[in-house]
Symmetry: C2
Subunit: 912 residues, 2 copies
């Protein structure tokens, strides 16, 4: 056994405690990695999984897994285990005795229990926004750091289950200081080619903006997804034969097992490059009775290694991904092996007709609720908590907190949460958790606003403005509206409220009249749209500033979801998989009934396509964006046909089979029809195989025109025809797609027995490509971080402070205030981000310098410049290089951001 | 906690280590008994169960259960566990390290791990012979005693799963010194009545011959079979909600669980008599991950007892059956509560049409193989090993042993083994184990016979004489036959051999001619039978000595097995359950083709009823018994009807609805049609509800005539009409009976794809009732312990010792030599038995005295009279009262046996 202290030169100095067993250099070394994969909700809720409740649905109890693994690790110091999901570990840890906690600390210190990944959950990669991913990693890693110190720090990212892999995730992981990244799922054609060429391990260059090797990350594809080799699963959930080594009993099988294992190892090394291979000995919710696994693994190691005296060249050892990676690193140093990858791993198909592109859209209402909750968390919980100080958590409106929302958002990032691939009752649980988070946050906001405004008038939160419901504004003759802008620069934002009166006087905080209309008046300023008078459909879009116009028609369609009755394959469309029965789209209506409403603020065209599809096309007077507010549902299924509803834009743009989608709301990747950048695709699904996740935006362009669509949630989409861009809005399916969830994605419940109605917005902008990012970058941030709107009954009391700015000055246009959050009583977590890619914009894709003492600091705080702000990468919480300390030297507080860089600070501050 | 040392005045002085938690006298005390029920074969073989192989059939791995339970007991000294099946414990124990063995010893010494029952298996009660039951208990209890000493001694018998309960089992348990007996299954009507009258706990007076309280045994019926109360099963195999006591997580349920538990406890105490109740917290193969159970039980105890501060009157504690029994004993001392039971618990029905009377006959070939293997074990392995001394185990024919057969027979006693209720592949495994035992025994016999005879000529064993196959006798012109009589008195026995010649000279060991015939000659001496010339069926039977004659016809029939398509119930006939579709029997043929063969030794009438049913009726010249050798099969199922084949005797005996069956081959119980002795029966199945196990014999009688049928294996039967007696011979069924085995009892395999042919013998005697036992008692022993027949090619070499007697003198007629077996190098286990019931016979039902120094001792040994033969009860292995030691006083060696008494001795001997 060797104990290694890692020195990580790139990201600073840190100590990590890894205890790796000795390998045998001349042999094939087989690294057995005992592990469990514990979904933070899927068929059961996260708490049901923790306790092992509802085992009638699925046998799984994480509390017992951790109990059992710790017991078994103690029985044999050779044994190793890795644990991944901090949401579960945290739940377990806080129920343990001090003695048990000490025992576990020792196991961690000795490298026998190793944390990998370490986020609160293992996030989905297609449908998550990077800001929420960074947050969920933060709370997981912080817990590990606070609890275990440097020895608790995960060395590798471990995304063994997500259904395709986003480049932005890899980029964030690289910046967080992980040494490597392992996953299990990739396109079956890609896998096949990589096996043949032994390219299953590689270096992923995960950013086109960040200077290498900042976003370079070793990436390994695991040999069996995340399962053990066939025949070697010894969990209680498996049926493989145990090792029967008592010659007095029937069916002694040691020779059989050893011989089979040697064959498996030889086959595996044939598709990898070094003389080290890894085997993942575990799977979903395994190790609840770890004895079964370890007892048989102990025997396997003993009997396989015994063969060495007879000339066997195979050495088996307990290992961890860190230990395996260390050996790969050594092998690569002596003889560089690994190829480079620059694209991503979307879409994921596990067979010719089985593209996992449905979940990009599945559960669109949950996806929106998650996204708006992220806004609520960032804006309301985090910023308001910092601005209000301790009063926010315990003030005139009672006790509130941001933790509930942080944890609710963190579990919602799980790859069966916002992805929409969980059972209905579990989706309901995620939503309920978020709603609890909102409730806690609202107390906190009320406390802060009371403190800041000097008025303790009750604050009212209208959460149903999206369906024009707000009892206060609908019933009150006088009310006040407070709008809080979470972005670090001024924005325009139109507020639409449901009222019952016919005439209102609207004034600002100084009592001056505000331009406001109750359904009456004028038109657009920056854009122009035309409608075909015969069909009622959009016919063109013009940017009046740039004098460019494109033909643009838009309509709504559905694909008939496959019911499996198909000659090519029995695969059905379901929560994961999008499989239209054919590439034919069914039009909902060739024409729309329309109605036009105009006033000085907004011009609206309302379109009715059918009883279950309608849209409002809006142009705000001061906006450069066309808003399409769509409403879809309940999707009818009386014809026994599952429906995948899309909207499609058909334009005159000459897009040449290419379109673009963002990765987790950040960098944009080029997509080309029926094509993958690094391997030769045999396209077997002309629609589903050309779908990609649209996290925040997609665009098509030619030399002159770029049409960008910014979405208000994650959706799937593609460009199946040149000049065309389609976005899937809603899915209602009649069959399960046989990937485990065991339910059709029907989304009908007691609350909405007819099926779910979903409403959302698409924001269109038309620009010359060279400057398009100047619009869509800030626009997308505005959609992600929306203003907080609160109401009070009647007029504000006298002496109320009507306005307040949390910032000392606005940030430069390229700099995004990613996070401001209370870390502990005297530390504030600050994340600044350069929000442009290197290629985005001549104007904005430049280095920009911010002085922390001035610019982003909340105006309520005094920065304690004598203190030591640790200068960090995106999120990592230990061992980063601190800024040079020079007391009183203001230059210490200046930070320069280059395109796509994120910098994280813990600022020691005092309430002003 | 109280630690108790038991003083057992009745059976001698012994120390048992039981550590019972304190109860609360004024409260309802709930004894939680964590336990597992580990079938020694059922859906999987015993070794598959041990290792956890074939978990695709059933998830069960006993090695892990014991690993896990020991681990969990160590975590909290309050916890308790009971373990039952020594066959499994032994397999586990011998794989443990010395440290682990010491740890387990400590747990046993401290009463935290307690053995109950303790036999090698939990025997079936309907189809097992008492001699094999005593043997299997012996090897289990001996292992526990040798390993753990007095603290390993089980205090209670624990037959929670067998399907009905035999009085002879209770009698044997009482004589073995158990303090009590618990079981789970009894007739649903009986249970219902007992609950209403709170008679679920009782004293069972289990013998009509033994002087009370020798065979009196406290007997308790468990409240939920052997399962936990509904909703409180926390094993990994269960789905009940765990206790969720973290208020920060969803679904906190402590109040719910406690309140539900209090209700259950209150309901349960309403159907028992004392303020103590027992709950069996476990079930089949549970506790593989004991943490799940104990973690929740710890919480249950904590939270339920916490309610006492709010006035709750319920106290929960970890307990064991011994501790529970101790409290019942105290309660009964102060206020005698428990009623008396004298009949047995057959047949068992769990619903109106669900009588578990099919397994009395299921797998008749396996039942016969088990019975003949018992004979082989007693005769060949045990007696030959003692007679041959060390040479028997390692002699001129190599290394042999009796252990293989002892253990094979011990597992075959399991309630899913000889019962016939296991899956086909498991039945095959039991048979294979027995066959392995035979092979080992044959080496041992060859060694002994070589030593005793002085000839090392190879011994040939013809195991297929039942189908007239013996290659040696069929091909050899000269061969020698050696016949060994295992009974302790002379018997007549006809030997029938397959030969191909037409004339043979047969001589005895002195060279004198033996009366022998090759299919030719004369007729009967003691009995006379007549056949109806028109039908070819039996028409009368006469005893020529007693001048009595009865009308007796016999034929073969089948019941149509229910396929569940029935208005009353969907219950189908299966391995467990006998359910004819109606009470109508289908006759196989009204007439039989017959052929008669006679010689000086035997007279045979051969009857053919159909291609699949035939019979040979035999009268041997020197026998008082009519032999019916039946052959049934393959049972045709081309008509899609399952068939339950019976033979029925219809006689002129005026039996008045009464017939008699033995219990485990020993005492006989009276059975009355549509009647149970201690409760009012509502009869719902006129045939199946009147079936009883016939272990070795059944009879009908009136004042003058008793017709006794001795069987060669366990079978089911009944007397549905007066004067009639039917015996089920074979069953071939098309459906599973939904009691878990999951297979129809079809018994077709690769070896016999057409279905199984079964052959057997029924031995009929006709006597005046008062003297009938004088015939059937020795007859039944002769059927159980058959002679060993071996062959040698050619004439025996000169100087061969042709004859040998293992006994110094014959035993008196009433005394049966139950066991002679090598215990260790210088101890021989001897069991003597009075084989008559008190009411059996004026002549034989008398006390009889045997001198151990003379009568039963093998003639090869010298009894070391200075040694200390421990005088024991039936089987118990520790703590019995020794005989008074008076060196040289011959009276010490005299033992007097009263009817049905068994006495066990360990005799210190030296080879002569």
């Amino acid at each position: 056994m060797t104990v290694n202290v890692f020195q990580d030169g790139d990201h600073g100095t840190h100590t990590v405690c890894v205890s790796c067993h000795a390998i045998k250099p001349g042999m094939l070394n087989v690294h057995l990695v005992p592990h469990t994969h514990d979904d933070v909700g899927w068929l059961k809720t996260v708490d049901q999984y923790f306790y092992g409740a509802r085992n009638d649905i699925q046998h799984a109890g994480v509390q017992y897994i951790l109990d059992s693994v710790v017991d078994q690790l103690l029985k044999n110091p050779d044994r190793r285990f890795i644990y991944v999901e901090t949401a579960f570990f945290y739940r377990w840890w806080k129920r343990q005795s001090g003695d048990m906690q000490d025992t576990v600390k020792q196991l961690v210190d000795e490298g026998r229990l190793e944390f990998v990944n370490g986020g609160w959950c293992m996030s989905d990669e297609a449908t998550t926004h990077y800001s929420a991913v960074v947050d969920q990693m933060t709370i997981g890693l912080r817990f590990l750091n606070d609890t275990f110190g440097p020895c608790g720090r995960p060395r590798v990212a471990w995304h063994i289950d997500p259904f395709g892999h986003a480049r932005e995730h890899a980029s964030v992981f690289a910046q967080m200081g992980y040494d490597g990244f392992f996953f299990g799922r990739l396109d079956y054609q890609d896998r096949s080619r990589r096996k043949a060429s032994r390219e299953q391990e590689m270096v992923w260059r995960a950013s086109e903006s960040l200077v290498p090797p900042v976003a370079d990350l070793f990436t390994g594809i695991l040999p069996n997804g995340y399962n053990p080799p066939e025949g070697f699963c010894w969990d209680q959930l498996c049926d493989d034969p145990p090792i029967r080594d008592d010659p007095d009993l029937e069916d002694y099988n040691v020779e059989d097992v050893v011989s089979k294992f040697l064959t498996v190892a030889q086959e595996q090394v044939g598709v990898y490059k070094t003389n080290h291979i890894i085997m993942t000995m575990g799977s979903d919710f395994q190790y609840e009775n770890a004895n079964l696994w370890y007892k048989n693994l102990d025997k396997l190691i003993r009997y396989v290694n015994q063969k060495q005296v007879n000339g066997s060249n195979i050495h088996v050892l307990y290992s961890t991904p860190s230990c395996y990676l260390q050996e790969l690193h050594r092998a690569n140093l002596s003889c560089p092996y690994f190829p480079m990858r620059i694209d991503d791993f979307f879409p994921y198909a596990d067979a010719a007709h089985d593209f996992w592109t449905g979940y990009f859209t599945s559960r669109p209402a949950l996806k929106r609720y998650e996204r708006i909750s992220n806004s609520y968390l960032q804006v309301i919980c985090n910023q308001m908590e910092v601005l209000g100080g301790p009063t926010s958590r315990n003030g005139s409106f009672g006790v509130g907190n941001s933790d509930t929302m942080k944890k609710a958002m963190a579990v919602a990032q799980h790859h069966d949460a916002v992805s929409g691939t969980e059972k209905q009752h579990v989706a309901d649980d995620y939503a309920r958790r978020l709603a609890n988070g909102w409730t806690q946050c609202q107390v906190l906001v009320s406390n802060t606003l009371a403190a800041l405004s000097g008025s303790s008038a009750p604050r009212v939160y209208c959460e149903h403005l999206n369906i024009s419901v707000c009892p206060l504004t609908e019933s009150s003759s006088k009310f006040s509206v407070n709008v809080y802008n979470p972005l670090a620069r001024p924005v325009g934002w139109s507020v639409r409220l449901p009222v019952n009166g016919t005439a209102y006087a609207v004034t600002d905080s100084s009592g001056n009249a505000v331009d406001c209309q109750v359904r009456d008046c004028v038109l657009c300023t920056f854009l122009k749209v035309t409608f075909d008078p015969e069909t009622g459909l959009l016919s063109s879009l013009s940017n009046l500033e740039t004098q460019q116009t494109v033909r643009l028609s838009q309509n709504f369609y559905w694909y008939n979801a496959s019911d499996g009755n198909n000659k090519d394959s029995k695969q059905m469309s379901g929560a994961y998989i999008f499989r239209p029965n054919s590439s034919t789209t069914f039009i909902i209506s060739k024409t729309a009934k329309i109605e036009t409403v105009q006033n000085s603020v907004v011009q609206e065209v309302r379109q009715w396509f059918s009883p279950w599809v309608s849209q409002v096309v809006r142009l705000y007077a001061d906006s450069r964006v066309l808003e399409l507010e769509w409403t879809v549902g309940p999707v009818p299924i009386g014809d026994n046909m599952g429906k995948e509803v899309i909207t499609r834009f058909d334009t005159s743009i000459n897009s040449s089979g290419i379109f673009y989608t963002d990765s987790n709301g950040r960098e944009v990747l080029q997509r080309r029809k029926d094509y993958r950048p690094t391997w030769t695709l045999t396209q077997t699904e002309p629609v589903a195989g050309n779908y990609y996740p649209i996290n925040s935006r997609a665009y098509i362009k030619d030399e002159k025109d770029q049409l960008t669509v910014v979405t208000d949630r994650s959706q799937g989409g593609g460009s199946i025809q040149d000049g065309s861009l389609e976005i899937m809005l809603h899915r209602r399916l009649l069959h399960d797609d046989v990937r485990g969830v065991g339910e059709p994605l029907n989304e009908a419940s007691d609350l909405y027995p007819e099926g779910l109605v979903v409403r959302g917005r698409l924001l269109l902008s038309l620009n010359p490509p060279a400057v398009a990012a100047n619009t869509h970058r800030p626009l997308a941030q505005e959609v992600v971080l929306q203003p907080l709107i609160t109401f009070t009954e009647g007029l504000l009391p006298p002496n109320t402070r009507p306005e307040f700015s949390g910032l000392q000055t606005a940030l430069p246009p390229a700099v995004h205030l990613l996070t401001v959050s209370q870390w502990d009583p005297d530390l504030v977590l600050l994340r600044l981000e350069h929000q442009y890619e290197a290629r985005d914009s001549k104007e904005h894709s430049q280095p920009v310098t911010v002085n922390l003492q001035v610019s982003p600091l909340p105006s309520t705080f005094i920065l304690l410049t004598g203190a030591d702000p640790s200068y960090r990468c995106a999120v990592c919480l230990s061992g980063e290089k601190p800024l040079p300390k020079t007391k009183g030297d203001p230059s210490v507080w200046e930070v320069t951001l280059k395109p796509m860089e994120i910098r994280t600070f813990l600022l020691r501050v005092r309430l002003r």
